[in-house]
Symmetry: C2
Subunit: 195 residues, 2 copies
C-alpha cells in the first residue's frame, strides 16, 4: 500500500561531496553538498546545487571553478564538519587538519586526504529556485593509487564513499555488490542475449 508523503526531496541515494573553492582572498574552503550528480557524459559534467547565501556560491561565481572531493566512510566526521560551519567564520581545513591542494587544471583546491577528487570548470549556471545549479565540466579526476582497480579506475569498494540520507539525517557506507550491470537483467525475455 503506497502512502503519499508530499512534495519533498526524498530520493536515494544522494552523495556527500565536498565542494572545494578559493575565496577572493585565496583562502581555501570546502562545503558538503548532497544536491548534485553527473549530468553529461560528453563533455563529462557534474552538477552541484547551492543556495546563494552560502560562502561557496560567491567563490564559484568569482573563480568559475570548483573541485569535488569524495571522502571515505572513515572520514564521516570531517565530511560532516564541512557541512556544519561556514567558511565565512572558520578555516575548515585548519579545524579538521585536512590539507588543501591547488587543483592542477582549475583555480580551486581539493582535499589531499580524499581518496577521489574531480576538478571542474564552471560552464553553466542555472537558477532553479532556492538553489542555483552549477554545471562543471570535469577536466580531470585524481585518485589515490591505493583505490584503483585492475583497469586503473577508482574502485567503489576501496574509495568507500559516503551516502547521505536526509530522512535519517545520517551517513551510510556502500554495501554489498548485488549484480553486474548490463548482465543481471538478461534473464528477462527481450534482452539482447535473451529471448
Amino acid at each position: 500500500m503506497k502512502k503519499s508523503i508530499g512534495a519533498k526531496t526524498l530520493a536515494f541515494p544522494t552523495p556527500v561531496w565536498i565542494v572545494g573553492t578559493y575565496d577572493d582572498k585565496g583562502k581555501a574552503n570546502g562545503m558538503a553538498v548532497a544536491w548534485g550528480g553527473i549530468c553529461c557524459s560528453r563533455p563529462p559534467c557534474l552538477t552541484v546545487s547551492l543556495r546563494k547565501a552560502t560562502y561557496t556560491y560567491d567563490c564559484i561565481m568569482e573563480r568559475k571553478a570548483y573541485t569535488v572531493s569524495i571522502l571515505s566512510d572513515r572520514q564521516a566526521a570531517e565530511a560532516d564538519y564541512f557541512g556544519l560551519v561556514s567558511g565565512r567564520d572558520r578555516d575548515k581545513f585548519i579545524d579538521t587538519g585536512l590539507t588543501p591542494v591547488k587543483g592542477e587544471h582549475v583555480d580551486a583546491p581539493y582535499i589531499a586526504e580524499a581518496p577521489l577528487i574531480l576538478e571542474c570548470k564552471l560552464i553553466h549556471t542555472f537558477e532553479i529556485g532556492l538553489h542555483t545549479q552549477f554545471v562543471g565540466e570535469i577536466v580531470d579526476v585524481k585518485a589515490d593509487d591505493t583505490v584503483l582497480n585492475e583497469q586503473g579506475l577508482p574502485d567503489i569498494e576501496k574509495v568507500r564513499p559516503l551516502i547521505y540520507s536526509m530522512s535519517r539525517s545520517g551517513y551510510y557506507g556502500v554495501g554489498d555488490f548485488v549484480g553486474k550491470a548490463y548482465s543481471v537483467g538478461k534473464k528477462f525475455k527481450g534482452a539482447p542475449d535473451g529471448d
Copy 2:
C-alpha cells in the same frame, strides 16, 4: 600518491533511477538512469540527464512529465533490464512482470512494485552536450507503508536503494550507518556546540 585518470564521469555514488514515461500511444515505459540528482529544495526538484536518442527523451518532451521509481537491491535484475533494452522494441513492464501505475499528479507511470517513487513535472530542459538535462519539480513522493520510519518518511534501510558504479559496471546496496549528520563533525574546533 594521487594518480590522474583524465576527464571522466567517475563520481560516487550515482543512483539507479527508473524514469517512467508514456509514449505518444500511451504505452508505459521505464528507463534506468544513473545521471541525475536532487537539484533544488524549494521547489523540490530532481534532475535526470538523457541522450536525445533515447525513447524516453521524446516521451518526456511530449508529456512534460516523468516519474522516478526507486527499486530495492532485491530488484537489481529488473532495474538492469530497464537499462538493457529500449522501449521502442519491447514492453519492459510485460517482460519483467512489473506493473505500471498512472501517476496521481503527472501524466507518467510509476512502478507499483518500487518501494519509493517520485512524481515529477518538467519545468526546465537544459542542453549540456551529449546529454540533455531535465529538471522536474517533485510534486509528490509515494512510498510503501512498510518502508516508512517513525516520522512517516521513507527509511533508506528499508527501501534498500541500488547504487551504480560505472567503474565496476555493477550495482551495490547501501551499507552500514556510519554517523549522524550535523553531529559527528561537532568534535572539531569551531563547530556550533564545539570550541
